[in-house]
Amino acid sequence: MKADIHLIITKYLSSQANQEEIDLLVSWIEKSEANRNTFDQLKRIWEHRMSDNRESDALEALAQVNARITRKNHFFRKNHFLRSPLWKTAAGIALLAIFLAGGILAYRPYSDSLFNRYKVVETLPGKKQRVILPDSTIVYLNSNSSIRFPKKFNDASREVFIVGEAFLDVRHRDHQPFIVHTQHVSTKVLGTRFNIYSRPNENQLRVSLVEGKVSITNEQEPDSPIILLPEEEIIIDMKTDVTIKQHFEPDNTTAWTNGTLIFDNELMSEIARKITAWYGVKVVFQNENLLNCRFRGKFRNESLINILETMEKTGVITYELSKNNTMVYLNGKGCMNSER
């Protein structure tokens, strides 16, 4: 077992692990602080490189091989005209120069390139993914979300960019704050666990802190950051600029990270939004009264059909799926305005 987790770690570190192995690794890392330290240490060992400078050696060696190839006349085998000695020497020198130049150009993509500093992970509607950042911070990316982060954090700060919803379990580092940039707002932390929700089409940002401490800065008011304590969340309405700070239930907010979908006596419009994000389907209401309905429920790794059937059992709603399963049509008598 121990050798196997090492295998998974080395596979992960050399980008050969599949999603199943990454999931296994993440749950192993989360099991204890000791495991996380082990992972961190192995990662440092992995990232070290022998400090020798053999790039120029490689170019020189290549030039020699190419000279031998040229001497052996393999390029010009079929062309008698090109076999004249003078031609060959001149061509040989020219080719060597071209190969060297080509070699230098060809070599560049393998060294650190400016264009390659960031990595982006995106999830499709209905898909979730766990991501391990360069500092071993773990990010659960909910469906239809994305995170952009540098392949290597700089020494002063760790900055990432998130669109959509994510739960972050941030590795504590005293002198290297972790900053999450979302639309208009940045959230600064040292080491903590929190959920962030920022979908551009919803004009609403929600940061919910489970553990630790975060400070949130709205770009409208850069000088008055808001501090959150555990089990506090902040909701900022981008349109009205109204900010609400309130208590929240951590289990409900982070339930999505372990595949649990919760309807907390919510209005149908909110439920439809969740179903769309969770399963990647479009929800169409065929009766306005449906929008007055509220549902309560908790589903762990449940299929869409089971959820819809459960809702149908209440008698107020019926459903129909389109042939390709991308649309859900809701009908039924619906609810009165005040009905639950």
Binding site: H6, L7, Q41, D57, A58, R68
Partner: protein, 191 residues
């Protein structure tokens, strides 16, 4: 294997006499192959063997067919060249396992564990050098040359389990030497 589809693409371009692809493949694998052949032969000869290997590839490009990853193919072909070479070091590349258990972590470990990056580099190099030869080779083939455990097992004619065990031991030894304030007399097996 990482980027193996790109390697395959380079290789088929070489088979179509694309010399630029040849240059790219050479530059990509020169360092890893040199690292590997240094386990078998002296540096100068290692360089000659790699040059021969690539010359062969270019000359026989039309008739070559690869059934593994390009990386595994290059490593295997290089190993065979080293075995056939008369000047090779008088030692088999698969040395015996007992060496590992005699290994000692020395007092190099700093007690405060907070290693500066440069110091860390120095130390890790030091400890990698301390690994028994076979263990070190397997570790470097996996970490630096990016061969999978399976490919290493085939290349070195050992079982997959041996590779797993050696990797585990190498990592455990390095991790404990570098990060843990252990008494200096312990052997890796006692960690």
């Amino acid at each position: 294997m990482l980027n193996s589809s790109k390697d395959n693409e380079l290789f088929s371009r070489i088979q179509e006499s694309d010399h630029d692809a040849f240059n790219q493949l050479f530059l990509k694998f020169y360092k890893p192959l040199l690292l590997f052949s240094n386990f078998m032969v002296e540096d100068e000869e290692a360089k000659d063997l790699i040059a021969d290997l690539f010359l062969d590839i270019w000359e026989k490009r039309e008739s070559l067919s690869i059934h593994s990853s390009v990386s595994a193919y290059l490593h295997t072909a290089l190993k065979n060249k080293a075995i056939n070479s008369r000047k090779r070091k008088d030692r088999n590349i698969c040395i015996d396992e007992a060496e590992l258990s005699n290994l000692q972590a020395d007092s190099f470990t700093s007690p405060d564990r907070l290693l500066m990056a440069k110091e860390f580099d120095k130390q890790i190099q030091h400890y990698i050098a301390l690994l028994p030869e076979r263990c070190r080779m397997i570790f470097l083939l996996n970490r630096d040359n990016k061969l999978s455990y399976q490919e290493i097992a085939q290349l070195l004619n050992v079982s997959l389990n041996t590779v797993k065990t050696q990797m585990f031991r190498a990592l455990r030894f390095l991790r404990h030497s570098l990060f843990q304030n252990e008494p200096s007399s312990r052997t890796p097996d006692n960690f």
